[in-house]
Amino acid sequence: MVDVAIVAAKALVVVLIVLLTMGHGVFFERKVSAIIQDRIGANRASIFGVAALGIINTLVADPLKFLLKEDIVPANVDRLLHFLAPVLSVLPLLVTFAVVPFGDVLVVGGRSIDLQAAELDVGVLYVLAMVAMAVYGVVLAGWASNNRWSLLGAVRGSAQMISYEIAMGLALIAVVLTYETLDLQTIVRAQGALLWGWLPAWGVLYQPLAFVVFMTAGIAESKRIPFDLPESESELVSGYFTEYSGAKHLMFMMSDFVEVVLVAALVTTLFFGGWQVPYLLRDGFHFPGGSTVPLPSLAVTGLQVLAFVLKLHCFTLLQIVIRWTLPRFRYDQLMRLGWQGLLPLSLANVVASAFVIVFLQRPAA
């Protein structure tokens, strides 16, 4: 019973972290784009005159508007699939967070709780599996809408996602080769080591190329600019979710942002130490100079979760900056980048990593 409660609690924490980051993401999206484009940005909605820098507008007014709008279902659509599509597009992404660790161990009342919602032997593969499932939302939405633009968007979307999944998977394989495990928690723990006594041994140092490939492929998976061809409003109206309105439309929007957060979370976990705080061990800070700052276990865990959330925010912000900086690719450019750029690059990275690992037997970590 207690176990079930603990799992439920962990899941709740994860969902909270995701929702929090996502909310901040939405806010960043509006405000950062405004800064980039030298305008003020969302500032209209206010509660009792308090606009709170647009937070009210972005996190209260907009969602409310979406939720309260009429849910229009066009004639001659496949009603069941039309309904299922948004759910299928957001659900697998949310479920993926189950294997992302957000802290080390929490010691409460003699119990050590691993701060990872689901301890899975095949974590990395699970991530790939769930990301792959996300395709169905796009495909079904496009097909079920009985609309030319939707169908085209869906075709584009599915092709794009499948293409970039391959590069993503290969980047992940290089990481797996480096850490010799599929468990994300183990990977994060391995990144707690120090190189030459002072440099945190984060994954990006071992696998810079995999990081670049993974990040690029991740952005492509989220189907946002510069990879937003499935919806590209100038060509396909709104792509695969043209025929969606109200709450269903909100779910598609959400799935975009969840994907952004997911990519941020995975990049953090795999390449930037996850919940690791430099020099922070379970009993406090151990600085390279030899000085130590002992901390209680609870404080350490709190710092770790905080660090994780912070990193999450950083990479979410990075993706938003990228989204507002780059123009959209042409479809052939997109495919060429995926198949002729990232795929060979990640393959070469896997081969090179394998060679290095075989010659060094194991990484310095």
Partner: protein
């Protein structure tokens, strides 16, 4: 696995399989297939085959069926007008299928449970499978890579538009 859970899953799986075969719309068939494969993967987890379960989702649900859907959409296939083949064929197939089902069930019902003893540690885990793959099955493993290469080349050559 709990028998009740199994029965529920099995019933759903059979429903999904029937959906694949009976739905007239190929997209529905494909979705029924995904559902079936997903349920099978759950059954695999129940049989202590975690890696196979995850691979099942990645390979089948994530790649193969998406490919099916992709092709269906590319060809813009709609609901089949005439679903079944010729009457003789259907009759013969039904008779044969029932006979095969009866035979298979008859053959299988008395299957001995086998030595069900304790499972070795790490059964179905990545490490144990990988070890098997790279020792006992190394040749087959390398051969599958050749198979995949040939398949890639063949698929590209076939699907390419003729110039």
């Amino acid at each position: 696995m709990n028998q009740l859970l199994f029965l529920v899953l099995a019933a759903l799986t059979v429903l999904g399989a029937l959906g694949v075969v009976l739905r007239t719309n190929p997209v529905h068939s494909a979705l029924a297939l995904v559902a079936t494969l997903f349920l099978l993967s759950v059954l695999f987890v129940g049989l202590d085959a975690q890696l196979v379960a995850v691979l099942q989702i990645i390979v089948y649900a994530g790649a193969i069926v998406v490919l099916f859907l992709f092709v269906i959409m590319l060809l813009n296939l709609q609901t089949d007008v005439r679903v079944l083949g010729g009457g003789t064929l259907v009759a013969a197939a039904l008779a044969g299928g029932l006979a095969l089902a009866a035979l298979l069930v008859a053959a299988v019902r008395g299957a001995s449970p086998g030595p069900r003893g304790a499972l070795p540690a790490g059964f179905g885990a990545t490490v144990s499978l990988a070890h098997k793959l790279f020792t006992d099955y190394l040749l087959s493993f390398e051969l599958t890579s050749i198979l995949l290469l040939v398949a890639v080349v063949g698929a590209v050559a076939l699907a390419q538009k003729k110039r």
